[in-house]
Structures are given as structure tokens and as C-alpha cells.
Symmetry: C2
Subunit: 440 residues, 2 copies
Amino acid sequence: MAEPLRVGIAGLGTVGAAVVGLLQRHAAAIAMRAGREIRLTAVSARDRARDRGVDISAAEWHDDPVALARSGRVDCVIELIGGTEGRAKAAVEAALEAGKPVVTANKAMLARHGAALAALAEARGAALAFEASVAGGIPIVKTLRESLAGNEVSRVSGILNGTCNYILSRMEMEGLSFADVLADAQRLGYAEADPTFDVGGFDTAHKLAILTSLAFGTQIDADAIHVEGISAITPLDLAMAAELGYRIKLLGVAERTPSGIEQRVHPTMVPRSWPIAQVMGVTNAVNVHGDAVGELTLVGPGAGGAATASSVLSDLVDVARGARVLPFGRPAAMLESAERQPMQRHEGGYYIRLSVLDRPGAAAAIATRMAERQISLESIVQRRVLAGATGDRTGRSGQPVPVVLITYATTEAAIRDALDAVLADGHISEPPQVIRIERE
Amino acid sequence: MAEPLRVGIAGLGTVGAAVVGLLQRHAAAIAMRAGREIRLTAVSARDRARDRGVDISAAEWHDDPVALARSGRVDCVIELIGGTEGRAKAAVEAALEAGKPVVTANKAMLARHGAALAALAEARGAALAFEASVAGGIPIVKTLRESLAGNEVSRVSGILNGTCNYILSRMEMEGLSFADVLADAQRLGYAEADPTFDVGGFDTAHKLAILTSLAFGTQIDADAIHVEGISAITPLDLAMAAELGYRIKLLGVAERTPSGIEQRVHPTMVPRSWPIAQVMGVTNAVNVHGDAVGELTLVGPGAGGAATASSVLSDLVDVARGARVLPFGRPAAMLESAERQPMQRHEGGYYIRLSVLDRPGAAAAIATRMAERQISLESIVQRRVLAGATGDRTGRSGQPVPVVLITYATTEAAIRDALDAVLADGHISEPPQVIRIERE
């Protein structure tokens, strides 16, 4: 058996502690799979005194993760600090500069600097592995980079944020508002005190940027992603979706189109029969369409210390075995600079919910605005407000009535233009709700 | 870039032709991912004259796959002949003996000779890769062998045969009998003329034997698998399952128990909310429980030329990159000889459907037989036969009436013993239907 691989861990939060625990608990099995012992020799974190429930007494302590990366007792660095810049990036760069392989879960750093770090890793002959950066314990990075090497991938999409899926699941199941479920999720620790990063779709966007690059061999282009969060989704939307045979999920979607790569994060109506629609709670799922494999869907835990540590260990054992895989599955210099497909050119079906003032001619006027832009309607659902709520069941109330339109495939530009016209006509009492539909 | 990898393909059926097609269509992308060109230099098949829709004119032709494996123009052999022994095994052995890596889709050969072939491969320093042998395009081999390297796996289960899942799906959706759907599946090419290998559960067992070894690091032990097929499932069972919140799937299940490894293939009642229960038609799915990752489910095409070729290419690009992974993720000599958990000791819930002769005391007698063996019943559902069918809606008909019992967890031995007693009591008109239930 070869020399032990001496590992330094920078960042000892939930994931870091779980990695230490797995290395200790499964030491013998991991050594057998890796062909050598994997030995924790150094750690770095903010607070040396904190009890993390694992024994790190044998490891060298570093206050500075860059010093850990440069330590003569460290062959491989696991970066679990997080953050786009700063100490995390400095430690990763220091390790790679020294030709040491790096395993990281840092999606924000990769979404911003992934290609540059991959180029540095390749130049120094060091691995840069990041299975843990996307979808927690789901092996989607390895799947895209290795298992689908014989495919041309045309689409990758997924539920990549457990907090959002948890909130949407509970809203649907219990008929609760976004605000109520969010507050509950915060109490239960499923959502941060400042939830913007999750519920605004930005966490999903970071992960999608990485998946897009792996799937299409393109440079990471996080700025190209159209991002919408879930805070405007209402129980009525979820109920209407159910009635129409859909579920609403926050999806990250990257798609190759004739005019470029489309990357978008937004609430999406997904047919209830799709595997991805069945995924409830904090679970994540990723679907890939490849020309050879067809549809492949991976479902599993998107977060959590142990699940994320599982992905860190996957990379670490690869490193210990001497796996020679390029970070993005091809040389960083060969990552293509793809055309961005702007959101205005997105094509698909739309769910549009309008609060229509219940007056003669309103529905006809709206239908006309759609028809003028060649938008065909698959269905119109009008929910008359209950008599008890309006005090009048015999005729028009003048009050807003929810009207839902489902369109056939059209463009984002046509929809936006039509809705601007509808708004200008004065028949609706609030801005329309627009949710894109995914179909076969 | 390194020298090209010169590949010989033995077996040019649907999968072989699809591999050739992918190698040609995606040559540039594959070379970029592999770090070298992958060049088809030799082929072998039965019928040289047959048109396979792909251009193999540049490849050396061999009538004998062993000659192909020994050819000086072949660095790596793809074995797609199939069959436990004979030419397939001879070709694989010849290649490995010569130190040439082998990629194979041959589950029958691996289920029988996998450990010996792995030992040979390791001794010669050659790769033996078999992603395509289980679940078609689903990357479950790589996932178990590499992605879950930091986990102790306690359970792997799956829908591993598309034919059976297609038949059960259509029986459920359309209320048809097994025989009717089978005949239709044969017409449509989803089932073989002799369907025994698929519908009898044997194909699933071969695949399960391989997964068990990968999951638990044990020697392949196909003979230890308890195998039941789907031919006894009736539309009534499927309807009762639906009513009780389940679906019936033919699962292969391997589980680590305190007294050994349990391996079984049989129709299984699965809660409808589980991802695996949502998988309909020819699609396959595999679920793994690991101590770190928790539950991971992979869903995708279980068969078909292109999907299986996708897995062949995954292995081939690994080989071309010089990936150094042991066939079963650990040295073949370290594969453990695990205790077999006999089926009699299986613990779980049971669905039991009895044709009870509608006479006073029958139900009480059956309940007593269960209670005597400490079997607790979760529910009893009695479907009185419709009046039109019996000609008497007022009282007991003396005719058999279907009665379904759902038990809490008990043992297979207790169930079999109780049912023997019930049968001996003479209250039922035909042998009982027994379907095991999977629960959390």
C-alpha cells in the first residue's frame, strides 16, 4: 500500500466535522477503497476552543487556512470555509500553487472563479474536485463529468435548494402562505435568518452555473443566469397548479438552444408525473437529458453535514487513488465561450394569473391582447370569488376575480409585451403572476 | 495528447452498433474528455454481411472474439456478446491475460465469474469495467464504487428489469391481466418470445448480485438470492395495493442484517410516495441507503442500445484517461465471504390475499392462526363479491371471497407457518397470494 495521504481541512463547521467523523469511523474501509490510508494531519477554523464532537487532537492547528495549505504535513486540502473571495480562495490558490490537490464544497467561489482555479490546477498537475459544491450528497458532478462522457447533453435542470423545496412543499400540502412557512422554517433551522440567498434563487444560480459548465463544456457564466425566487408564489398558485396537473418547483434550468445557452432559475410548473415533481421537502433532484442516455434523474439529500461529507469523501478517495480527471471534464482552456440566450427569447408555455376587475369586456380585452401577439391559450380558468367574500352571488361584483391562463408555447417577449398591454388597459388590479411551464 | 486508444468491439448487436455510432458522432468531444483519441480498430460478430447502420469498414474483422482480444491492433476490448460462459468469457479472459482493459455489459458472466475475472484483471494491472451490466444508462456502478466510498451502505434496492416494470405498470393502469399485457409486450418488442428470464426475476437477480458485491464489499453470491417473478400478480392485487397506498414493483433488494446479507427478488408493495414507486414503464431505478448520504435514488433507462452504450462509453473514457479503479472498488482478494441471511428469517410487513370460502367462522379461524404466531394485523380488507356475480346479496354465498390481510413486521417463517395452517384448516379455496411490503 502506498504512503498515507495527509489531509488538511480548512473550515470545521457541520460539513467539516462530519468529514472528520467519517474519516475516523470508516478509516479501514476508506483505506481499502483508496488503496492507502487517508490521514487527517491539519485543521484550520476560527474558534479553536469550540467542541465539534470529533477528535482533532492529533491534527496540527492553523489559525490561518493559507498556512494550513502550505504546511509540509499536508498533501491535500479540503476547503470548507465558503465565500467567494478571501481566506477560502487564498487557501485554495496556495494549495494548488504548491501542486496539492484541493477538494472543495464552495459553490460561490467556483461560480465566480471556477475556470481560473481549474486552469491553475491543471497547470500545477493538481486535482480540483467539487462534488460537494452542488446538490449535497447527489453525485451529479461525477455523473456529468464522467458517466455522461459519451453524451451530448442538451439540458440539465434541478431542484437545487432544499429550503425552497421545503417551503413550496409545505405551502402546497398545508395551504399556507410563503411568509408563514418561511417563519416556521426559520424556527426549525431549515432557513437562515436572512433567507434572501436561498429563497431569492441565488444559491440555486451558483449551483446551476457549475452544472452548466460541466454539462456543456462552457465557461462558467453565472451573470448570464436569469434569477427569480419563490416569495411571490401564493397558495392559490399551488392549488391551481395541482388542479391543472402540475406542481410548482424552484428549478435551475440550463438548456442548449439554437441561439445559445439558456440559464434560468425561477418557479416552474412541472407535470406531476415527472420524477422531479415527486421530490418533496428538503430533498434535491437533478435531471439530465443526454442524446445517448435519454433522461436521467438523481434524487437525494441536497444539504446536511453527513450527506455533503459523503461527496467530499468521494472526491478525497478519488484523489488518494490518483484519479486523473480534469476539474470540468475537459481542459479549462477548451471551455467554450457560449452565446447567452437572453430570457426574452425563452420559449415555452406560461401560467398567468390575473386579478381581473369583474367588469363587462375585461376577459375579451385580455384575450384580444394575447391573440394580437399570436399567443394561443390552452385553457382559461376563472375562479369566481365565493359569495360570502363578495356579498353578491348574482352578478358582477366589480371586485377582482382571479383568472388563470395557460398558454401554448410562446416567447417570453410576447408574454411580457401582452401583459404590459393588459396592465395598461386597466382591467387588472395588480401585477400579473407569471410562472413558466416545463413540458416534454 | 497521448497515443490513441485502439478499441476492439466483440458483439455488434443493438448496443455494439450504438457504441460505434457514439464513437463516430462524438469523436472530438470524447477525445477531449479522454485526453486522447478513441479509435475503433477491430470488430467481431457472427454475421459479417449484416447491415448495422454504422460504418465499420475501417475496423479489422474477426470471426473469433478471442482473436480480436489478442490482436496487436487492439488495446482495449469491449465485450458485448453476452452469456455466462463460452466466447464472451474466453474473449474477456484473453484480453485480461494480455493486460488489456475490458469493458463489458455482461451481467450473467459477472454474476457467475465476476470475482475471478476481477482478480485476473488486478493481477495483470488491467481495468475491468462494467457500468453497462446493471440498469442500462444509470451510473449505479460508478456511484456505488466511487461516489459512496465514504459510506457504509446498508441497503440497495431497485427496479432493475424494464420488461417487468412495463408489464406491472400497464396491468395497474389498464386493469389488464399479466397474460394479456405480456402478449402485448411481446408484440411491441418489450418482452422476449421466451419471457422467463425477465418475468421470472432471473435477470434482476443477476444485476442484484453485482450491486450487492459493490455495495457491501462481499463476494458475488448469485445463488443466495431468493427469486420470485411477477406472473402470479393479478389486477386485483394491483387495485388493492393502490387502495392501501402502495404500488407493486418487482424489486431486487440487498440488505445488511445483523445475521447476514439478505438478497431477494420479488414483487414488492412500495409506498406510493417513494420515488421508486413513481417509476413507470420500462424505466429503471436504484435506491441506496448509505450512513452518510442517507437515501439516494437514480432513475433512468434500464435498457436500449443508446442508453447502454452511454454506460459503455463512460467506462471507455475512464480507461482512456487511465483511471485506476479496482473493478469492485476494493481488491478482489478482500471481498468478504458474507453470511447469507435465509429468506425464512426475512422480517417485514406482508400483504396476504386469501380466497376465503364464505362460511361462518372462516375469518375467525384465519385470525386465530395468525395470532398463534404473534402476527399482528394492521388491516383486514374484505371485498364481498358483487351481487351480480354471486346471485345473492343477502347472505353468505359459500363462494370464495377475497380477503386481504396487511401485517405488521413479522418473519417469513411465521407467515409461511400460519398460512400452512390456514390452508390445512380448509377455509381457503386456493393457495394464498403473499406479497412483501417495504416500509421506512
